[in-house]
Amino acid sequence: MARKDFLDIESLDSEEIIPLLDQAVPFKDLFTRSVKKVPALKGKTVLMLFYEPSTRTLSSFEVAAKRLSADVIIFDVPHSSVTKGESVRDTIDTLQAMRADYIVVRHRLSGQPAAIARQTGASVINAGDGAHAHPTQALLDAFTFREVFPEMERKKVLIMGDILHSRVARSTSLILKKLGVEVAFCGPGSLLPQTQFRRFTNYEEAMAWGPDVVYLLRVQKERQDAPFFPSDREYHQVYGLTDERLARIAGEGIYVMHPGPINRGVELCDAVLDYERCLISQQVENGIATRMAVLFGLKPTKS
């Protein structure tokens, strides 16, 4: 993989995706050893630029970079000049002086990481931009999916919830499709845009489609400027994984995934977390290995 940046799934083809997934396998094997580090990025600097709050993605990247022996700088956006009105472009010009080799960006605005990538010779990794893309999440989802189903072709994944505001839905649906997986969306009509994928507003109909994995999404209240459904309670009843629905899912052996953070009592009931085919913690662990693979595979253009 000779690319400089990792910005979205759209521009990747399966010939690039599969080597990345393969590369993550030996990195994951490291985690069971006493020494979990490799010297691959020794002397390199990874700058974390998170304009939006994040716990798991930020720490996942930090761990990934450190396990590759890179130096990690976490730019403290909430306490920076950004709060004094400095533009992203000017911030990047300033940060260039730190000569970071990799910049990991999360931003509330779609397209901001791409704009930064055009401005800097450092490798830019999109850690989530607006409702646009979350490509490393997609990669870890595909990795997790492949661990469960090594033959991915024609398996079915139902992505359920707030499709409209979800960058995860966009990126994960695309990567799975590129790997031959069938994808469908399910959710309330107000959160379910017209896309290339099959679309269900009815839960029963969606389950009758026969998914191998149900991928739940968090309802993104912070991105909604007007109510899209009446209440969490009603959402849970109509589109949530309730106890009754979980029983049926368990009976059919369907796997459950979720990008986190979860909202208990909204998109899922507590019992889902104890379900043996719930892959949530496996996704988190795989996030580190796949992000190591991304950092390892990118080639910054400046020295």
């Binding site: 605005l109 397209g111 893309a133």
Partner: protein
């Protein structure tokens, strides 16, 4: 000045261009036709193969002065117009402060008088374009305002718009509407559709424009007011205008911009802010239907919605970058390149919709290349070509999709009264 334009084709609102020589002396067109002898003492300019037509008129420009002179000034804006073959403009009132009082109108028109082409202005319907209080309509009229609009936004309060129309009925002032329901419009970054989903940005549905169009036309119709709908982007919205005009006899007209005829949301590609404007680019299907509407006469005028922004502003993330593209430098050449040279429409349509009708709408004298009229004309070379570099364009900003592109056609001469404003 004594000029003899020899051997060109003279275009007008009706019919195909006719070959004729044009003799201009002391700012007046002395003769149009085949002259037996060249006028004595005249400078002869060979116009063989070129089209001579009236100067264009743009009824929708944002000159940013006062308040945002880093983007554009009245002087630079008019130079961009001249560069593009346009000899008159109407400014929109969303300056800072807004053009909502005789004081600001006077200041703007005073700056305009220092320019080489006439500058006219619209005025606000509501104070500060804020949609709360009625602007001093009689005072604006007195100061020289030609048209009332809150362009940049719709008047959110339908009752206030109705009262303003009723109140203005005595002042022979007409209204123009930027149609947009603000709640439906949301972020105002791009059209709602496949592209907005792919890019992960909340889209603005065409519905937001169409619903407001219907509202404003109903109010205008109920108050017997002439209403001009600005920058129509949606084909269904265009049909709303057509229906009210043809089925109900409403006094309503429409305007289409070159970019809404030429570009669609898919051109945004990877967040190219040179394709970000409001109303947004819709779909290829809308392009085709709007073009047909222009040919059918649903659109009374073509206007650019010239909206300059600095390079820095446009380099921001797509959502943060301001809406708008420049248009004065590029309009005539791009309309030639995309439509006239392709046989989509003729020179008569361009002259009618971008020169004659906008002047008529503003109650100004129509420019014509006929004997006895004031010289207000341009010479266009269909064999030429134009490369829109930053240096070529005279606007202070260069936020246009045509930046660094080469298009067919070239504006070679611009003549107004006794002055040769441009010679290439």
């Amino acid at each position: 000045m004594n000029l003899f334009l020899k051997g060109g084709e003279v275009a007008s609102e009706e019919g195909a261009p006719e070959s004729a020589d044009v003799w201009i002396e002391d700012g007046i067109i002395k003769a149009v036709g085949h002259l037996a002898v060249e006028p004595e003492g005249a400078r002869v300019i060979d116009c063989t193969g070129k089209v001579i037509m009236p100067g264009m008129f743009d009824a929708h420009v944002h000159f940013r002065e006062p308040g945002q002179e880093a983007k554009e000034t009245i002087k630079d804006g008019t130079e961009a117009a001249i560069n593009g073959g346009i000899t008159g403009v109407v400014m929109m009132p969303n300056t800072s402060p807004a053009i909502d009082s005789p004081t600001v109108v006077n200041r703007v028109l005073e700056q305009g008088r220092k320019c080489r082409i006439p500058v006219y202005t619209s005025g606000c319907i509501t104070v500060g374009r804020e949609g709360h209080e009625m602007a001093p309509i009689a005072g604006l009229k007195e100061a020289g305002v030609l048209m009332l609009t809150d362009d940049g936004d719709a008047v959110p309060n339908a009752a206030l718009l109705r009262r303003a129309m009723e109140y203005a009925s005595d002042f022979e002032m007409f209204f123009a509407s930027h149609c947009e329901d603000p709640q439906l419009a949301g972020l105002r970054a791009l059209n709602e559709g496949e592209v907005s989903y792919r890019l992960g940005i909340q889209g603005t549905p065409a519905l937001a424009e169409e619903i407001c169009m219907d509202r404003d036309i109903r109010i205008a119709h109920a108050t017997s007011t002439y209403l001009h709908i600005q920058h129509v982007s949606s084909a269904l919205g265009m049909e709303t205008i057509r229906w009210w005009r043809d089925e109900r006899g409403a006094k309503v007209s429409g305007e289409v911009s070159p970019h809404h005829l030429m570009f669609a949301d898919e051109d945004i590609g990877d967040y190219d802010t040179h394709y970000k404007m409001n109303p947004p680019l819709r779909t290829r299907e809308d392009n085709a239907k709007l073009l047909q509407g222009l040919k059918d006469g649903v659109f009374r005028i073509i206007a650019t919605d010239h909206a300059p922004h600095t390079e820095f502003e446009k380099s921001q993330a797509f959502v943060d970058a301001p809406n708008g593209i420049t248009g004065l430098d590029t309009a005539v050449v791009s309309l030639f390149d995309r439509f006239i040279s392709q046989g989509e429409f003729g020179w008569d349509l361009l002259v009618k919709r971008y020169s004659a009708e906008p002047r008529r709408m503003m109650n100004l004298e129509v420019a014509e290349v006929v004997e006895g009229k004031t010289a207000d004309l341009i010479v266009f070379d269909p064999q030429g070509e134009t490369t829109f570099t930053k240096e070529f364009m005279k606007s202070k900003s260069s936020n246009t999709p045509f930046l660094n592109q080469t298009l067919k056609g070239s504006v070679d001469l611009v003549i107004l009264k006794d002055e040769l404003l441009l010679e290439r």
